[in-house]
């Protein structure tokens, strides 16, 4: 083996080794920590979705709003991963005379699940429960827990009627 071949061999394997290093970016389609999906139904016709006019959503203790005002029949809310509860303030008819605010507390037990080296961990929320704080005029009239564990966003976890 002459000197040229030795260097060629050396250069070849260095390129090979460097080429095998892959940068790890969490892929877009990965099922990471799920949002809580809530659907709003009509009290009089509980199988029919009913949009909430000018809904504003904000977490207790946060200045900035999560969403709104917007008229929607489904919302997806992030839950705190480092606590076992999250409190949200949901306001209907925001900015109008009929503005009505309800406070809802979601309680759960957060469980860690390892995904992969790029994404790290996700949290699954188990034993989900809801408490609507009573006031003199609640606009959310009833709640139904459809799924007790929040692991993905394919279906709604909670139905509210109004």
């Amino acid at each position: 083996m002459n000197r040229f071949q030795k260097w060629l061999f050396l250069a070849g394997f260095i390129i090979l080794t460097l080429g095998c290093q892959r940068d790890d970016i969490c892929p877009e389609g990965t099922e990471t920590t799920s949002l809580l999906v809530i659907e709003f139904y009509d009290l009089l016709n509980p199988t029919r979705l009913k949009a909430v006019p000018n809904l504003t959503v904000r977490a207790s203790g946060k200045e900035e709003i999560l969403m709104g005002p917007t008229t929607v029949n489904t919302v997806s809310l992030p839950l705190r991963t480092d606590e076992n509860f999250t409190e949200y303030i949901l306001t209907t008819n925001s900015g109008s005379e009929e503005e009505n605010t309800d406070t809802v507390t979601f309680t759960y037990s957060p469980n860690l699940e390892y995904l992969n080296r790029a994404c790290g961990y996700k949290v699954n929320y188990n034993s989900l429960d809801i408490a609507i704080h009573e006031d003199e005029n609640n606009w959310i009239l009833s709640e139904t827990i459809i799924q007790e564990s929040v692991e993905n966003e394919t279906e709604a976890h909670i139905y509210f009627t109004h």
Partner: protein, 231 residues
């Protein structure tokens, strides 16, 4: 070897005029059979890596023994410690490994040369521990503050086994002293994974890849042949 040949050449010249038959007698003592024995060495790439990478520590001792022509019994033993730092997970691993197998030299040397170009096969086994140093909860919604946790969870008594193919060369640079370089391709065949976590680095197998049981590696070595016999 070269110096010896020159020496023989010079001596034969000096005796040329006076003793015509001496040349034959001297040439007979040059043994051109290949040297066999125990070759021991260390991996140079690991101390170099220790200088470059702050979190890395490693040492590997290697040995091979010539069994038959071109066939060597070979093995490595080492200890490594490394930190894998990813945007969402930081973990360290430390432990020891042993690799056993053989090398086959497919390079045909000129008479009197002792170089090798070889393929090798190994079974590797590692015993190690891992510490999950920091991790984050992946949340696509940035409404709440990022949840990054630095609790430090340790996982002990982990093991892994793999098969390894090596391709390399060893060149005799001085009498019985060899410099070598090689590349490794490994296929993990078994491992114990930490609960609700993964092995990001396995000593001897190097960093792992998600969704693949392959590993890669390379090394530079310096080794010394203790000649035991010739054939």
């Amino acid at each position: 070897m070269k110096q010896r040949l020159i020496f023989i050449l010079l001596t034969s010249f000096s005796f040329h005029s006076s003793e015509v038959f001496a040349q034959e007698a001297v040439t007979d003592t040059v043994d051109v059979r290949e040297k066999y024995g125990l070759r021991v060495g260390i991996d140079l790439s690991k101390p170099i890596k220790m200088l470059i990478e702050e979190d890395y520590q490693g040492l590997e001792v290697k040995a091979d023994y010539g069994l038959y022509e071109n066939i060597y019994l070979a093995g490595e033993i080492g200890n490594e410690q490394n930190v894998i730092s990813q945007p969402n997970v930081t973990a360290s691993a430390k432990g020891s490994y042993v690799k056993l197998g053989g090398d086959y030299n497919f390079y045909h040397n000129w008479t009197g040369m002792q170089n090798l170009i070889y393929v090798g096969l190994r079974y590797g086994f590692a015993s190690f521990s891992t510490e999950l140093e920091e991790y984050s909860i992946y949340d696509r919604n940035p409404y709440f503050e990022p949840d990054i946790r630095a609790e430090g969870r340790e996982f002990n008594n982990l093991t892994a086994g793999w098969l390894e193919v090596k391709l390399g060369t060893k060149v005799e640079v001085l009498n019985n002293l060899y410099l070598g370089v090689h590349v490794e391709l490994k296929k993990k065949i078994n491992e114990t994974k930490p609960g609700n976590f993964d092995n990001l680095y396995i000593p001897g197998l190097n960093r792992t890849y998600d969704g693949s049981s392959l590993g890669v590696g390379y090394g530079y070595s310096i080794s010394y042949l203790i000649p035991l016999y010739r054939q």
